[in-house]
Amino acid sequence: MRYTPHTAADKERMLRTIGLTRIEQLFDHIPAPLRERASVSLPAGLTEVQVKRRMGALAARNATPEGWHFFLGGGIYHHAIPSAVDAVISRSEFSTSYTPYQPEVSQGTLQAIYEYQTLLCQLTGMEVSNAGLYDGASATAEAVLMARRLQPEGRRRVLLSRALHPQYRAVVSTYLKNLGDVELVEVPFDRSGGTDIDALTKSADAKTMCVVVGYPNFFGVVEDLAPIQAACARAGALLVTVTTEPLSLALLQPPGAWAADIAVGEGQGLGVPMALGGPGFGFFTCQRKFVRSLPGRLVGETVDHEGRRGFVLTLSTREQHIRREKATSNICTSQSLCVLAATVFMSTLGKNGMRRLAEVNVNRAHETRERLAREAGLAPAFSGPFFNEFVVDVKGLARRQGRFSAEKILPGIPLARWYPELPDSLLICVTEMNEQEEIEHLVRALSGS
């Protein structure tokens, strides 16, 4: 077999050592009725060449930015990834190692995570970052669960902005509903595309556990966190911000500057390919005083017996392998290799590169929205400030999909499936990957009716 190295002589010799003559004797203690039905009825194995052909044929039946004019965002972003990123994460020393339980031989992974935690704290302006979670949606759910641990039992109402990513809201709901004691209340958005501050201020009270808003939110709008934070502070609720496009934080005042208690999000935009939305990673940062309630892995600095600096997994008494049913979370992974990709990405671009890239995104997106208004007559749906995504209303959007496909353009994400009140709205994302020519295609495709 391709991946098993045993020769016939090996097998015979090994069986003899064990005291057996046939392989089947290794499992003849298993009840016969089970063994008799166990055969795996799948086609025979393929050679590498056959595998490549077959997988290549499947891959060819998907639309990618290589063949299409591409303006999709909504939580997963098409950004340029420096070649250095894949070079590092392809190193088998990183990709084929396990969770760093033996720190003496895992300093590479541990130090990389420590650097990641540092970079994330700097990017978000928060004090503590964990080593990573599954994705932005489950990180949001974990943030709400952490708020539940931190807040007294009298506070069990969660205010979720309706402008928060709809799939994130759905995951929060799935995670919370079985606990029985948490009530989810949706706060509407207003004409700015941001959370309705008046509605939020009225709803936030002594029963509120936490307030969860997107930053930027699902419509690409940069929420005004000052009044939201003020409402939280008055009510004694925790403020949770959710960022699906982490690159925006290279330019925006970060959640930490607005005194967010917990800042989470999706890290895919930092050097991880889109890959149909996964794997990326969830980032999770918070104020230092909450550190013992954190979900997930944490790496800390220490020394060995000779005083040499080194890194270990720490505060693990929060975790499932020690605390079992009393753990802060059941999670035991940190999407480590994706986190490593983000660490290399942020290190390679550095503070100036990150900022420049963020500026290119802002400029192209704003220029595109202006041209759509001027040349295609498409009014912006919302008035709030935005980063690299915005919403426009396109008359008869649903019936124009066929023509978009014929022109090989993916002009954006129709919002009607989650927002019936926005039947003609299209969420358009413009990044550094969209050159002028492509933007012109977009303007042409969305012109007329």
Binding site: M1, T4, P5, M14, L15, F27, H29, I30, P31, A38, V40, L42, A44, V51, K52, R54, L58, N62, A63, E66, F70, I76, A87, V88, R91, S97, Y98, T99, E104, V105, S106, G108, Y114, L123, A131, D135, G136, S138, Q167, T174, K177, N178, L252, A275, L276, F281, V291, G300, E301, T302, V303, E306, T314, S316, R323, E325, K326, C338, T348, K351
Partner: protein
């Protein structure tokens, strides 16, 4: 609204960055450099072809919110992988949404809860044996259940009688790992399942150890109602230093309606997404799960085919039993039952010299081997849980057994040498108590560095 700077962020040339991470990589042990016999982790070879395929732009550059008709190849792959995993595990339907084994557990328990709730009572308790992974009780709590722990017997197995004692109409499910974490096949599983089913409960199988079962026994035939599968174990996707993995969940037909959304349906040769399913537990992860990992697992399965997967499990058993035989005598074997894909020894023989499992593990590093999983399962005090996997040669197993033998001798003749190990690693034993007492969780510029 805008910030002026990201204080502390690096300013480096690309070469400096690469040198830094290349140096860090040299500080790691990895499957491609060393034998990595971590029990219950299935550290098998991660084939290169999987990586090549996952990087095809037709997979790596897909957007999850593109119209379904423009990602038909991806949906066909997902639909096909669901069917292949169902065939291998003997289950009827599979969801690929969960991002990891622990999320699979949570999803599976949610499915059980949703079904029981519809029958009138979601119930309150989950039974977990003392050999279970820590995630089992943690997932139960997260799903709103209380945990009832039951002991395994002196042969390391769960007995139907013990389950019967605690089984009542408030138990939603029993979570079982098979083979269990001692590497022992739970022979009584069907009888145990009968006890649970009779009182209207369900059987959840932690499929972490599926690498022992392909072509040997199907969980679907054992009375299992729900299971999760770790693609990063049995199906060869890289562990990545702690993820990403994937934890698909398989169920029997009567539970299909409760699986998370989206579901992928096929009609007239086309694949479409179903999001509005009223009985579904809802969404557990954004988009489609860890698609890149699913591509790798699909590639692995079609590379090996049915026969290859069966041979995989057979060779995993051969390697584990061979290693067990080689280590008998030098180390204490707490459970003499035949083992499947892994075996568990303890430090009892070394203990009288004051040498512990931790010392043995650290000394193995000096011999160039990654240690086994240690101090787990909890039922075997000072456990060394060894899973060689099928991709290791007899020569490697012999070398490992020799090193373990040498350490056993050192423990008698020169215990201080073992107790102060490791001696050859980039750093020595690290002060974990200090790390937890005064947590330093990020680098901060000192005044000196700033000036």
């Amino acid at each position: 609204m805008l910030r002026d700077d990201i204080p502390g962020f690096p300013e480096l040339g690309e070469l400096e960055v690469l040198r830094h991470f290349t140096r860090l990589s040299h500080l790691n042990y990895a499957i491609e450099s060393q034998f990595y016999p971590l029990g219950s982790c299935t550290m098998k070879y991660n084939p290169k072809i999987n990586e090549v395929v996952a990087r095809l732009p037709g997979f790596s550059l897909l957007h999850p919110l593109a119209p379904a008709e423009l990602i038909q190849g991806a949906l066909e792959l997902l639909h096909g992988l669901e069917a292949m995993l169902a065939e291998i595990s003997g289950m009827d339907r599979v969801t690929l949404q969960p991002a990891a084994g622990a999320q699979g557990e949570l999803t599976g328990l949610m499915v059980i809860r949703a079904c029981l709730k519809e029958r009138g009572n979601p119930r309150r308790k989950i039974i977990v044996p003392d050999t279970a992974h820590g995630t089992n009780p943690a997932s139960s709590t997260l799903c709103g259940y209380d945990v009832v722990q039951i002991p395994s017997n002196n042969r390391g197995m769960v007995e139907a009688g013990k389950v019967e004692e605690v089984m009542d109409e408030e138990v939603a499910a029993l979570m079982l790992t098979n083979p269990n974490t001692l590497g022992i096949f739970e022979k009584n599983i069907q009888a145990v399942a009968d006890v649970v089913h009779k009182k209207g409960g369900m059987v959840y199988l932690d499929g972490a150890n599926l690498n022992a079962l392909m072509g040997i026994a199907k969980p679907g035939d054992m009375g299992v109602d729900v299971l999760h599968i770790n693609l990063h174990k049995t199906f060869s996707t890289p562990h990545g230093g702690g993820g990403p993995g994937a934890g698909p969940v398989g169920v029997k037909g009567f539970l299909e309606d409760y699986l998370p959304v989206p579901r992928i349906a096929k009609s007239n040769g086309n694949f479409r997404l179903q999001e509005d399913l009223p009985k579904s537990v809802g969404r557990v992860r954004s988009f489609f799960g860890n698609f890149g990992i699913l591509v790798r697992a699909y590639t692995y399965i079609i590379s090996l085919g049915g026969d290859g997967l069966e041979e995989t499990s057979r060779m995993a058993l051969l390697n584990a039993n061979y290693l067990r035989k080689k280590l008998e005598g030098a180390y204490h074997l707490p459970y003499p039952e035949p083992c499947m894909h892994e075996c568990v020894f303890t430090d009892r023989l070394q203990h009288k010299e004051g040498v512990t499992t931790l010392d043995i593990a650290k000394r193995l590093l000096d011999y160039g081997f990654h240690p086994p999983t240690i101090y787990f399962p909890l039922v075997a005090s000072g456990a060394l849980m060894i899973e060689p996997t099928e991709t290791e040669s007899r020569e490697t197993l012999d070398a490992f057994a020799e090193a373990m033998g040498a350490i056993a001798r050192e423990a008698k003749e020169n215990p201080a040498l073992v107790k102060s190990a490791p001696h050859t690693t980039p750093v020595g034993r690290l002060d974990e108590a200090r790390a937890a007492r005064k947590p330093v969780l990020r680098w901060e510029p000192t005044k000196k560095a700033e000036s």
